[in-house]
Symmetry: C2
Subunit: 465 residues, 2 copies
Amino acid sequence: KLLQFKAQLGGDEGKHVFVLKTAKGTRDYNPKQMAIREKVFNIIISCFKRHGAETIDTPVFELKETLTGKYGEDSKLIYDLKDQGGELLSLRYDLTVPFARYLAMNKITNIKRYHIAKVYRRDNPAMTRGRYREFYQCDFDIAGQYDAMIPDAECLKIVYEILNELDLGDFHIKVNDRRILDGMFAVCGVPDEKFRTICSTVDKLDKMAWEDVKKEMVNEKGLSEDVANRIGEYVSMQGGQDLAEQLLQDPKLSQNKQACAGLTDMKLLFSYLELFQVTDKVVFDLSLARGLDYYTGVIYEAILSQTIPAPAEQNGADEAAVSVGSVAGGGRYDGLVGMFDPKGRKVPCVGVSIGIERIFSIMEQKAETSSEKVRTTETQVLVASAQKNLLEERLKLTSELWNTGIKAEVLYKKNPKLLSQLQHCEETGIPLVAILGEQELKDGVVKLRNVASREEVDVPRADLS
Amino acid sequence: KLLQFKAQLGGDEGKHVFVLKTAKGTRDYNPKQMAIREKVFNIIISCFKRHGAETIDTPVFELKETLTGKYGEDSKLIYDLKDQGGELLSLRYDLTVPFARYLAMNKITNIKRYHIAKVYRRDNPAMTRGRYREFYQCDFDIAGQYDAMIPDAECLKIVYEILNELDLGDFHIKVNDRRILDGMFAVCGVPDEKFRTICSTVDKLDKMAWEDVKKEMVNEKGLSEDVANRIGEYVSMQGGQDLAEQLLQDPKLSQNKQACAGLTDMKLLFSYLELFQVTDKVVFDLSLARGLDYYTGVIYEAILSQTIPAPAEQNGADEAAVSVGSVAGGGRYDGLVGMFDPKGRKVPCVGVSIGIERIFSIMEQKAETSSEKVRTTETQVLVASAQKNLLEERLKLTSELWNTGIKAEVLYKKNPKLLSQLQHCEETGIPLVAILGEQELKDGVVKLRNVASREEVDVPRADLS
């Protein structure tokens, strides 16, 4: 949608031809997009505040070293700043690493915070599919040493509340645990060094059939047919607390310490989710893997059931969350802060990232197909006149309205036509016009006209201020 | 205030020593600073919305070329991104040039918009004096071809409203016009090519005595004593509409076309300011010059009368606005958008930039000396218990409160002490505790305790949801 046209710079610039555009992979937000963005932010921030969260902000760039070694292969997508003398800097790639840096630097051992800000990835932008190089992340995290699964359950409650309030249709939240996955791989006979790569193959189950996933495991990753089949049995399992109990009795899994710890926590998590009344949407799903290395416990991902035909993937949440329908994801990462602490002191963390760019684009599409027009201003009344030479009276009344806190506009013209004043209201959705004329001024009233119904009523001037 | 300490990265990073800090000239905002920031933003945004403004957003970086030739000497302070293949990019230096680029690119000829966002200047940071390399700008602009001085007057009304509502103490707003300045220089006998440089000398009158300014004009800028004295007479003049009328009769100024146009507009401006009831704070001051080249008409600057002993200047507004006490500034710039338009089509603009970083720092200082603690959360009630084994009941009640929209917290512990629960309320300012015990559960009530007064009242459970 980027307008690109050649512009000839005049003046000092001489005849140099340049393209008038935004940088590749970026976009402006126009007032309509901003109005939708604000609505989404308000719903999400209200939820975070209802749960007692604080907010912080960090600079848009970090020391290059702060980001080094945190994103594996994806590090090549980091934007570096030019070395203009001084420190080597990079634009932030996500909000999690700056958060961990903030905690370690300020020796903070517990905090419940949210952070909504833009992050930068020098990815190949698929803007037609809604992926950008500059995009928002919207993170909520709870850091601190607490009793098991209570903060984890609150993160899921938050996702549930936000998706309900955004009214995006039916959804479900898949839950699993990194320790259950690792235990499962171990008892199925996957060699330790292949855990991660097999994990990312399992992660494809939401887009690929089991037969294809199995082929990749056997043909590309070198597992035996037997091992793959054993994995296949586990990853087809879905359930709730009951499944966790059943697997704790599983003759193989129950022998694995990691798996048992994960399953015991899963049982506990579901008991809390029951109290939070969210189990109708939460599924314990052994096929959920998620890509990021730093997860150490519970992981989750929220998926919209009915895929609103969106221009496709959004670069929300993190890379792992970018599957069709995925609108939130997160998990527990107990080791990341320790990477920044000089003494390696750990601060356990659990968090969730709301895939807000995807949500923006769904909301934008809904707005386009809806009969209700998106308003970009909140103006309640336009101060107008049908007669000439009333500019001063219009300005005076407008000022009185502003002073009483009423959102008011006036056209910046000496003698605008009544029609163009009414048109302005219709175009921008202003519901009321306050019409001034000689008669009204004499009577000390204002004629208030409802733009939609055309009803008019005289209001005493004194009642307005 | 930056915590800087050496950290030894463990694991894969080997023994490399790095400094755990934010980039030079940048800072994190902690929750308390964010709470103050939010309060300031809310007041300012409410005012913009009351005046019918929309908002837009632009990317944090622009094509390097977009910024080229817009900032004169200050261009050396622009942050460039590293050439990683592809376009050459720079971080935005202000919000005005991206705004002009946005208007030209989208062929927008009229809009009233605000934009609050961070901008970047590779300045020598004086952080002890509150100047940063990453800082907020907060701009309101009206673009479009309108009848003279109406939008200009609204900008001043907005500054007046915002400074009143922020409650920063007494202030005044200086107004002048670039055309009056130019006309004045012409009739005093300043050679055309020296207008700009003499203008920036005049701009120093808020920090230097006239005698020193005069010395600079004569000794450094090469004006004759006579010419300087004539300027001196004009720039000592302050007044209102009356002064504009008087100067229109001035035998010399009245002969200058530019000056007459400016003075006629100044008269008109004051007549509108009268209707807006803001003339008590607005002064027509011939010594106001402001640095930026792109102003073409009215210019203004708001100054706090009583300088709250701040850590000193803030990098708010633009460079020109950074004088002691200055908290807002702006003016008319009718030529900037045309620089981006391929056919040079002009879009007249007038705007104001609120020096929000300076305002943050004044508010922070007020908060520090105030007896009232700044709350960083909005939690209304903590769900607590005095007895053991009531975690599940606490979680259940908390969830019920969330579901009814009440902002509630619960400690993430199985059996927290009542004292530590009450302490959490006192530390974070939560006003109410909902205490659950065996007796309350039996009676179907919740004991609501006012943390400050220690009063307790039993509330039927049913009344809470």
